[in-house]
Amino acid sequence: MAHATTTTAPGQDVWNGGVSPLDASYGKLMMWFFLLSDAFTFSGLLITYGLVRAAHPASTGLEGFDVTKWPVPEKVFEAVPFLHGVSLPLVFVGIMTFILIMSSVTMVLAVEAGHRMDRKAVEKWMLWTILGGITFLSCQAWEWTHFIVGTGEATKFTDFVNGQWITKEVIGANLHVNQYGPQDFADFFFFITGFHGFHVFSGVLLNFLIYYNTVTGVYQRRGHYEMVEKVGLYWHFVDLVWVFVFTFFYLV
């Protein structure tokens, strides 16, 4: 019977193409896999921080800074703009966390508006998201400056120079000296928050691109706002990484 009653069992045609078992577009999938690889990169940084920290003797936080002892983060990050000399541990970084979470919320609202083809709402929420990103970056710039310039009190340490031990003083931190503790502490601060800050910066650029395309009606003509969703995934990931940085760099 060469009659064309093709009885196909379910699943038999899977290899002929045209099926999407993951039920997501190519772009969205690739964004997910990129984010997974990026998660590995950030984990590498944070876990190495854990290793180096565990390999150092810890400061009790009761006496001043000591370049041989790993500092307690709340003793290092206790400054807030315009409140010079007031000890407010972790307050500023808490504010930064709040800003980033809020910008994640406005992003998800932009995605929701995109689903409804509501161009005006997408524009509004994208602008809020961009504003949140820029605010976060500005806060980080202030924090870096404060960290680099240092607090008023110098930390003393001994160094072996030309065959003899001499006492030196250091204020502030960079990739060569560090008043708060071991050199590695400052290096990790710059690398981890810097790498994250660079992600936020790229995110702001991408968000702006999305905003621009929304305003010029590109997605309206395309008939869907999936690009908002893809960049949204990236933006949430940046927020996610900050949640981990906040815990493992600032709180623990």
């Binding site: 984990s43 876990i47 390999a55 808490g94 161009r119 927020d239 949640v243 709180l251």
Partner: protein, 111 residues
């Protein structure tokens, strides 16, 4: 621009009140958890217990961000697991590196 604008009618749907309310609830939970973390930072003494509380709260927050905001909870199972399973490698790296770090501490700072 080569685009000639076809005047296709675009219907703007009204906001999904239910969905938006849910998103704000998630945002509220994230804010609350961050507030708690902030309080615990000062109320508890440093030690393994404090660290585990932080780790648990962080994982809960991560779950909300990835599950709700990034919508992973509602994707098909294959996609969900192809993102979640590789995380095992991170867990293993964490365990191995922290163990190594403590050993290094023993070697470098023998008391």
């Amino acid at each position: 621009m080569a685009h000639h604008s076809e005047e296709t009618e675009i219907t703007v749907l009204p906001p999904d009140k239910e969905k938006i309310k849910k998103l704000w609830t998630v945002a509220g939970i994230l804010g609350l958890l961050t507030g708690f973390e902030f309080l615990i930072a000062f109320m508890m003494h440093h030690g393994p217990l404090k660290t585990s509380v932080f780790v648990v709260m962080t994982i809960v927050k991560a779950g909300y961000i990835v599950g709700e905001f990034m919508h992973l909870r509602y994707e098909v199972k294959v996609l969900f697991w192809s993102i979640m399973i590789p995380i095992v490698f991170i867990v293993w790296m964490l365990v191995a590196f922290l163990y190594e770090g403590m050993k290094l501490s023993d070697i470098n700072f023998l008391n």
